[in-house]
Symmetry: C2
Subunit: 237 residues, 2 copies
């Protein structure tokens, strides 16, 4: 069965966490809004009708099942494609890490949109400068230090967040580092020196054959100033 992924066609955004899992799994999928002539209009019927209408993209259609919320999609794909441990405790732990990554992503978004996602960045630049300062000084160190602790403490080895094999949490941490490196290059360069296990995980994921091929392909949308990770030099330091 071919998966259908519904997400904005011109940004990586939250959809990218799902794309990375599908790519690593070698799964058949259609990125509907990019491949259909209808674009995002293709998703409207699914959001407006049906028993389980998603709140927002991304959402994934697998036959009759429609799942929204990035972390829930990954929980589902993790179970189906071996991208999470099979036992309940391991599945929950991987999911818990993913939920913390989701919080981190929301905070990264709010550095440029602290007031309203419906307003332009230009309409909230002053507030963004204040929020970004707190993000750089307090939030990034808090999140990174937690991920580093988990990597160091993993009894199966420090190459992965959970167990001895790749999970969707590893892929998502790679994506966070990639995104922050684009949006906050100065901050991230400094941080990665302090958190070498995170840096090593990022580099190892980028070299996984399917991920490496994906990153070089036109399927990987370039980072840009419409997505979650935006490079506004005035917010970096």
């Amino acid at each position: 069965m071919t998966y259908e992924l519904y997400y904005w066609p011109s940004i990586q955004g939250r959809g990218e966490f799902v794309r990375l899992a599908l790519e690593e799994a070698g799964a058949d999928y259609v990125d509907v809004a990019r491949e259909s002539k209808k674009g995002m209009a293709a998703m409207e019927p699914l959001m407006e009708k049906g028993e389980h209408p998603p709140f927002a993209p991304p959402f994934l259609k697998d036959g009759d099942i429609i799942i929204g919320q990035t972390a829930a999609i990954l929980f589902y794909l993790g179970g189906k494609h071996g991208l999470a441990p099979k036992n309940e405790a391991g599945r929950l732990w991987t999911h818990q890490i993913q939920l913390t990554i989701a919080d981190f992503v929301a905070e990264a978004h709010d550095t440029h949109h602290p007031i309203a996602s419906g307003l332009y960045y230009e309409d909230q630049k002053k507030e963004a400068a204040r929020r970004a300062e707190d993000f750089r000084d307090n939030r990034v160190p808090k999140f990174f230090s937690w991920f580093e602790t988990i990597l160091k403490g993993n009894p199966a080895g420090s190459k992965h967040l959970v167990g001895a094999k790749i999970t969707y949490a590893d892929l998502s941490l790679f994506q966070i580092v990639a995104g922050l490196s684009y949006a906050f290059p100065k901050l991230t360069k400094r941080a990665l020196r302090k958190y070498p296990h995170i840096a090593a995980l990022h580099d190892a994921v980028a070299k996984r054959p399917r991920i490496e091929a994906y990153l070089k392909s036109p399927r990987r949308i370039a980072f840009n100033e419409d997505g979650i990770f935006r490079h506004y030099p005035e917010l970096d330091a």
Copy 2:
């Protein structure tokens, strides 16, 4: 086995979503920071050591298992106490709703802390006024309208978000309505007239015997201006 819940002892906060599930389940639990002389110091060893250190409270200890992230805790408790459907599609759908509630809670928090959770409200009042306006005008209607649609479209009846029985998602939607009624009384009164199924669900949950007993007990901490739902009259309208 008695659960141990670790959360701040003087606020409802995110811990309240877990407390409501434990209360509805009639589960044995200790609210550690409230009942131990050590207070929050009791949680430090668990956050600093161990294989699965939680990122932040709340977290739940069930024997050897420690789970952080509110939605993950509820996913776990839902399966153990019949507060979610047993089949995979139903479990995921309930979880998906909970994740959307978690996003809503984070946005409610950010109305009074749009810049930094480490700063006082007084240091971000101007920004809070702008963010709260967007929350009132755009975000609350978007979330409420989604919950109302789900209730109306539930094939098993409009009394519950999922299926024909109570789930943790119902309890959490109750808590959101209770919190918003405290923090934004004008806004919420107006909204509930427009979304009658949400209002009915809130009232029905409040009358469930175990929840009613809990709400009257000293275990229910009163809403206050240290929690997520804070009543600052200048943010309401």
